[in-house]
Subunit: 118 residues, 4 copies
């Protein structure tokens, strides 16, 4: 049985914190703050671009965005680990709710009804 | 060969948007905005709790946090999909940088040197 | 009649952008992104501190927080200017709504009912 | 001598919290979390609009944006009050730094050099 890639990553991030004795700082409250900070750093890379430019990043900016997305993912995994959440299951559960909330036939191509997934 | 769970989820989120003709709204710029909004909704669940309380959530709040974490993950997958980023590889690459930047021997238990992962 | 201090600041920020021909980038959408980025930079200064430590900042961090708060204020003034919003009036209007929503007698000292101002 | 409008607002927000015995929750750390949440709620109003649409809001959305901007301002004033920061002075000090960092002659109309005010 092959280990899931995301599980391997979660274990690695956990070990990283343990080796540095950083668990004392990693309350879900603090990790949520770190998460929103990293998400904002991703926003910062794109804020002055047009939407079109954001779809066609040059290699340098794309790499910076890639690493910012990585930071968001790392903190998200850390929160999930602390609260014993399986992210893939949680997202699958949420997609069921989203599919119910936004029936394809009713919201197709409509930005007025498209507010957000939640 | 078993498909990776995260890949299955990415495909499902992609199909969800396609069926609703929402790709037109899903520029990386817009998705980054949605991402930070979802991250903030997770923050909102924890902002008035003490750190200790955030480590011991009641079932109801834990479930809300779980679904907010799911929203963050869904938008993060969406951005990754649009920019052809493999999140697990990106996070593994970032962990290498983090391990170099924060040598365990030098930063152990030290919140002064602990600013952030990036 | 003395000009209001906040009005003087608003005019100065407007001139700063005009002299640099940055109005083209200052759509409310982009400015909102910049605003959340600056708010996150303020969060970043406090994220690993305890609440108690955040109440007793050393001089160096307090100055960094002061300048991050300034950045938030500058972008908030910029959005307000672009949308012809008077911030002080808007906040006064919002306080009326808050006073109605959170009657002092019912919510006193109660963090459960205290979710947020909005 | 006419009292400054912003000072009157700051006092009112302070009293609002005092009457509800909410100062116990209003550590700078918690207030920073609340601030970024409110900033994200403003982002949420604009995230699926084009930049052009965000410059031409209909009356209903403009009013929602106005009240979200008010929430950001209220929490910003609250942080400033707790840390004994004068926001107008702080912003004026920051503008001096910005004017030095972004000389008009060098950055005019240039989005590449325009990363952010900070």
């Amino acid at each position: 049985m092959a280990a899931d890639r995301i599980e391997g990553l979660r274990a690695r991030v956990r070990q990283f914190a343990a080796e540095r004795e950083w668990d004392q700082f990693h309350s879900p409250k603090n990790l949520a703050m770190a998460l929103v900070v990293e998400a904002a750093e991703l926003v910062e890379e794109l804020q002055w671009l047009t939407e079109e430019q954001s779809r066609n990043l040059d290699a340098e900016r794309r790499e910076r965005v890639r690493l910012e997305a990585a930071d968001v993912f790392i903190y998200l995994l850390r929160i999930a680990d602390k609260l014993d959440i399986d992210l893939v299951t949680a997202a699958a559960d949420k997609m069921v709710l989203n599919e119910r909330k936004y029936p394809a036939d009713r919201v197709r191509g409509d930005s007025r009804k498209y507010t957000e997934y939640d």
